[in-house]
Point group: C2
DNA sequence: GTCAATGTGTGAAAATTTTAACATTAAACG
DNA sequence: CGTTTAATGTTAAAATTTTCACACATTGAC
């Protein structure tokens, strides 16, 4: 029975991956947890602890081999596989995802683009035609789809999510501003932009309050 | 000396706000931490604990008044103020932000839209014209801007972030895939879509591994 | 080939976060 | 108006996460 790794750790892994990728591009061959911690502004201890959840990737007296660690983290994150994605909701956000070429480099292939709006019929983004939502079941039957990205308004999101799951897609990247209630076997990752914006505004007012307090203290 | 509230709590506040908004729309007047916890799938204890970081908003024997609590959380999150936002990078993502009307309801006004691409000159989104990046300093001088959303490629993000800070903007909503190094007084909120996608893919392979393990166990 | 220096992996301590328990207060109700 | 019930605010315990500290394996200089 392996105890599973906390989501806090998982949230940090892509960041390690990013920094290692940059080091790799810069031609750096090896790095110690200390150097990396300085760059990333986290403790070296946390880096070592995090990595050791998955195994020992470093070598005492040497540090970590950048390329090796980069690839291992890639495997941990499942980036050694390919995922076909359909994007449902071909508004600006959906188009933005479809246009973002970098995803493909990591094995995430945008395969289909769907919308309910007939005005979008005929439009295509990077060669991917916008299809009408009615065509979805047929499309999913004929193509192996791993992930559905939901970029439509929240009003229809819940229903579409259910449909998508019924069609056999088990992973959802949810941009709609609601929490989806789905069977336990479905993996959901939420991107709530409004929440993010509210966190920003919280931190803005917090900083203003701090500034004010300091000013008063100095009177 | 007030000890400050952990970001874990802050991350949960927008979600409370959202659920309370829905209750409000549904005409619910009062709610107990228990009922809310059932809906939100968190413990009632956590809800009470979280709220009491900011003060006692409920009443013993009664629960919480939905409207009151909604508004109080709004104030905590700084949603009782208005923020003018400029979006730098008028690609699909920037346009998506500019088009998202709901932000305005919360007091986030998209005031300007900038890009380096001359091909976008003349384009306007919801009445907001795309301006050339050269016009930025002038524009910021003439308009009170609170937040800059960076939706351009990461290559130029760092430089633009510095420029924006020098122009006196102290809050950045960063969509570029890098960590910005900025003075301490600047508030940064990151939205790293790639990280989110990697977390999704981690959870996909994790679930697959689990499934496989269970299958093997049952042989 | 030896030996100091480096730097991981890891067990334990410290800090933080979450959950549980309960004393207290207000509402509801007869 | 008094009693019962509901549900908060709060203190304490449990769980989790982060940091510390150090034994020990490798490296690299001489």
């Amino acid at each position: 029975m392996e105890k599973d790794i906390s989501q806090a750790v998982i949230r940090r892994m892509p960041r390690y991956y990013r920094y290692l990728g940059e080091l790799l591009d810069a031609g750096v061959e090896r790095i110690s947890s200390n150097e990396l911690s300085a760059q990333m502004k986290v403790t070296a201890s946390q880096i070592r602890q995090d990595l050791n959840n998955f195994g020992g990737f470093g070598q005492q007296g040497y540090g970590y081999n950048v390329r090796f660690l980069y690839e291992e983290i890639g495997k941990i994150l499942g980036l050694d596989k390919q995922y076909n994605i359909i994007v449902i909701g071909a508004g600006n956000l959906g188009q933005a995802l479809a246009n973002y070429v970098k995803f493909e480099k990591r094995g995430f292939i945008i395969t289909g683009l769907f919308d309910v709006n007939p005005a979008l019929r005929g439009l295509s983004v990077r060669g991917i035609p916008v299809r009408m939502l009615e065509e979805l079941p047929e499309f999913v039957k004929n193509n192996k789809i791993d992930i559905a990205a939901l970029t439509m308004p929240k009003e229809s999101a819940s229903q579409v999510a259910n449909q998508v799951v019924e069609l056999g897609i088990n992973a959802i990247w949810n941009f709609a501003h609601l929490d989806l209630e789905l069977p336990e076997h479905v993996v959901v990752e939420n991107v709530h932009l409004s929440d993010s914006l509210m966190q920003l505004s919280y931190n803005i007012v917090k900083k203003e309050r701090e500034k004010k307090r300091i000013a008063e203290y100095n009177i």
